[in-house]
Amino acid sequence: MDDWKPSPLIKPFGARKKRSWYLTWKYKLTNQRALRRFCQTGAVLFLLVTVIVNIKLILDTRRAISEAYEDPEPEQDYDEALGHLEPQQHRGTGPRRVLDVEVYSSRSKVYVAVDGTTVLEDEAREQGRGIHVIVLNQATGHVMAKRVFDTYSPHEDEAMVLFLNMVAPGRVLICTIKDEGSFHLKDTAKALLRSLGSQAGPTLGWRDTWAFVGRKGGPVLGEKHSKSPALSSWGDPVLLKTDVPLSSAEEAECHWADTELNRRRRRFCSKVEGYGSVCSCKDPTPIEFSPDPLPDNKVLDVPVAVIAANRPNYLYRMLRSLLSAQGVSPQMITVFIDGYYEEPMDVVALFGLRGIQHTPISIKNARVSQHYKASLTATFNLFPEAKFAVVLEEDLDIAVDFFSFLSQSIHLLEEDDSLYCISAWNDQGYEHTAEDPALLYRVETMPGLGWVLRKSLYKEELEPKWPTPEKLWDWDIWMRMPEQRRGRECIIPDVSRSYHFGIVGLNMNGYFHEAYFKKHKFNTVPGVQLRNVNSLKKDAYEVEIHRLLSEAEVLDHTKYPCEDSFVPDTEGHVYVAFIQMEKEDDFTTWTQLAKCLHIWDLDVRGNHKGLWRLFRKKNHFLVVGVPASPYSVKKPPSIIPIYLEPPPKEEGAPGAAEQT
């Protein structure tokens, strides 16, 4: 192309001059035949040049248009993007300013349709009982939140009140009952329904059906209700059809200052509901936290992988705490979402973080396991220089000194290859059994729930033999298996730096959470200086344990260990108890002891060579399994190890004994 560059510049200029000569001389020289001939040939030549230049130009512009760094792929992308935008625009600015909404409530089925599109349909047996709530954007008609509150069961009405209060004024609320929704619907909730303008809400009775459409803080747009005629039967199915007038986009949005942060906030708040004050027009809660930087932060360059599923509210809470932790570097965080869920992605975008979606390839536990593998591989691909990765889950609160804790301890993982991981979680660290935020332990189990993984361990050992999708294994149970762990240990703090708040989960339910997670101790003190970190190395730790055991006071072994008085009412002492443990895998007595201490007893956690370390009444309390533990030598000969009988088998453990 470059080689013909001068031609359009020079030739036309020359030609133009020729043309003016032609015009001036035309009349003077008409009779001179030769000159006329010359002029004619000149004109023809000129025309020819024009044609050539023309063709060149056409060819050139065409090539420029088709070639200029374009290929069909991005065009496609762009078309797709357009396709996505279309319905939104249609609803937002199109001529239709009214939505027709259909709401159905009955014993076995509920559905909600907006403009003919079903946005909720639930006719599954044995689930979805209670009040279904849908929030629509009043300007676009988009579904912003979808919840179900099983108000047949206790406390669910409180959650509903909490949720409804969070919804911004002006939004369109749709409620419908499936099966039963009144048994535990208490007065507060009923009062709230009344304040929304509902007639039937406050008087809802046993097995009534009910459908409601209204604007938060505004007029009711439709309501239908059918009383149940008898205790054993349900109200008749009701179908409510109503028109919802749309308001202008202006009205639906808050007038926040036009900053990058608020642009993110606006995008988020126009799409989803139920995140409380983050979307409040007056004084919204911040979405940028800028916590203090950590001096000498050793984990600034360590990537953080947040493993998430479709629990956007959890993810929101989790990311808030993570971004508030001292020493966090947001650009190192990646959120991996298991599935093509929009709302978690919205939450990620709200905080301006990197989010990656994962098409599900397997089922249940195997799916979680494949998601973990893909996430870990991706993390090390995205941060090829990283030697470690922090692995977090979406249902964790992160302690303010989480990164400070890791920064002080991560060198251990580099220097001591008898280590498997560093974890922020102490399985046995409950309110009544953990005390010292500066204290670290070595344990043979892998606690998970906020941990650091060494890249070499993952790349060289775990990744190549990670369980394949057809094996329905839990990744964490697999990681704890001796073939993988190979006798290596994890570093944990006495007081956990993460808090597991998830109640809903694959292996989780409310009861299980209450029993095993709720009372877990969680560090809230910033900048804790860890004590004697290097004593956690393999050999140094043995010296430390022997020192501890030598100074420990032996407890009165004639007392029943479950009794409160087993550990004296002192402070700051070190006590030791010896329990029976015939072999390395004999945990009969320990399990019983764990049960009566109300700590984790579903499997064995937190042991180091037959030794457990915890706190009782602010005293350090050591438990040694005799004779399996090498520390049995510290047992005075007179002491007979405690033996606790396992109870006769009657009922299984409540729920699956596993934390994910």
């Binding site: 036309p12 025309l47 024009t50 420029a64 760094y69 990197r354 390839i361 991706a378």
Partner: protein
């Protein structure tokens, strides 16, 4: 009469066509301003001094990046070349002592900088600041190739290129992304449909015509024309890399389809072989890189990369290609020092050279030397028993970078032609029995070694 009308018609034609030509000229100037950009800015920037547009644009850009704490470094080949020529001079300049604008005032359309993405803090906030300073910026993004190798992940797009225009000069910022194998990658600059194509003369960009891979450069701070800039510590090496930096991605999608059809071999032996082959390949790559010998994945290893993005578990060896002009006699010694004894040596430097080294766990490393003819390339084979020679023909090819088992390695850019020459059109179907003397479609008998030479050209250890 007829003559007059002929004249009139001719005159009319000429008039209209000159009008047309004028219009075209205008249109042409407007539409393909790229072509004229150089000429125009030359007249404007003729004052060779610190008030040239280029220098001022670069100064503004550096002010912007340093105020935002974004460590960009200069990769502009034109300027690096100049700096390299005057390197001693540049190193001695201290701040403010520059007398004449020598580098940044040189006539050009772009100044190219690069940035490692992970050091780009506050990427979002950067653009508004740039616009406030008078830059007009264009950013292109694409999906992250580092996620392509993993099943079914899709995520936030990553920025690839930014072009920021200030007056008539444009700054091209190439965003480099670190990848496994300790190298930096940049993407191809693709414009979306709605982008103004004459925003800058895109075709004149030095980077972005295709994706590229570079060694992670060490940087140094220098003062050039009174401006503090970071440049690669070894500008010569960097400049040498540029023309050969083209990168091609493994075909992950096709590889997944392949595994759906033929299933991956997950047996312990297969995994053990892949592991030792990977280690052997890494060791070989390190050894050859230390010697500065160019090599590429050849034969089965190349097929494995192209077809399934992994090492073919039943291939039993690792195959590399080297141009005979890159042959160094130290190769054998270096491999021996790396713990890979020579297993056999066939042919000689002038003809059909082939080396074979014994790796750990019975994995063999084969190095084929390629000879170039006017219209094809070839490598030779020798049958030890009979002294027969074979010739394997390949269409001419050039070398590109790719990523394979966490390494940056070269492969023939024209991979499909290379593989089809070697394995035929049915290379997609895995075949476990392969006779190197008969199976390849590109094999030709090439006579026989004279018995007198056998001692030299057939060496078995």
């Amino acid at each position: 009469m007829s003559r007059i009308s002929k004249n009139v018609i001719l005159a009319l034609f000429t008039l209209s066509s000159s009008a047309f030509l004028l219009f075209q000229l205008y249109y042409y100037k407007h539409y393909l301003s790229a072509k004229h950009g150089a000429g125009l800015s030359k007249s404007k920037g003729s004052r060779i001094g610190f008030d040239s547009i280029q220098w001022r644009a670069v100064k503004k850009f550096l002010m912007l990046t340093s105020s935002q704490n974004v460590p960009v470094f200069l990769i502009d080949p034109l300027i690096l070349e100049l700096i390299n020529k005057n390197f001693e001079h540049v190193k001695n300049i201290s701040y403010g002592s520059a007398s004449k604008c020598k580098f940044f005032c040189v006539q050009r359309d772009f100044t190219t900088f690069a940035l490692q993405y992970h050091l780009w803090k506050n990427e979002e906030g950067w653009f508004p600041v740039a616009e406030n300073m008078g830059f007009q910026c264009l950013k292109t993004e694409s999906k992250d190739p580092r996620l392509d190798g993993i099943d079914s992940l899709s995520g936030t797009e990553i920025p690839l290129h930014c072009v920021c225009k200030w007056a008539t000069h444009a700054i091209h910022l190439v965003v480099l992304h670190g990848r496994s194998g300790n190298y930096l990658w940049h993407g191809r600059l693709r414009l979306k449909r709605h982008v103004d194509r004459k925003f800058v003369p895109f075709r004149k960009l030095q980077f972005g015509h295709y994706p590229g891979a570079f060694d992670r450069p060490e940087l140094q701070q220098v003062i050039i024309d009174g401006l503090e800039v970071l440049i690669p510590k070894d500008p010569v090496h960097f400049l040498e890399e540029i023309p050969h930096s083209r990168f091609i991605e493994c075909r992950y999608k096709e590889a997944r389809a392949f595994f759906q059809q033929y299933l991956d071999d997950n047996t312990a032996e297969a995994m053990a072989f892949q592991k030792s082959a990977k280690e052997l390949l890494q060791l070989a790559a390190r050894t050859l890189n230390n010697l500065g010998v160019r090599f590429w994945l050849s034969s089965g290893t190349c097929l494995g990369w192209y077809r399934q993005c992994s090492i073919i578990p039943y291939s039993k060896d690792v195959d590399l290609g080297i141009f005979i002009q890159d042959y160094k006699y130290e190769i054998i010694l270096a491999f021996q020092e790396a713990g890979l004894p020579l297993k056999h040596k066939f042919g000689k430097v002038e003809d059909s050279l082939e080396l074979s080294f014994q790796g750990k766990d019975d994995v063999k490393l084969d190095i084929f030397f390629f000879y170039e003819e006017t219209d094809y390339m070839w490598n030779g084979g020798t049958q030890a028993k009979t002294g027969k020679k074979f010739k394997y023909l390949f269409p001419k090819f050039t070398l590109c970078w790719t990523e394979f088992v966490d390494m940056k390695v070269r492969v023939p850019c024209e991979t499909i032609e290379y593989i089809e020459a070697n394995y035929g059109k049915s290379w997609k179907i895995p075949i476990k029995t392969w006779d190197w003397k008969n199976s390849p479609p590109n094999v030709q008998p090439n006579g026989i070694w004279p018995i007198s030479e056998w001692d030299e050209v057939i060496q078995l250890y």
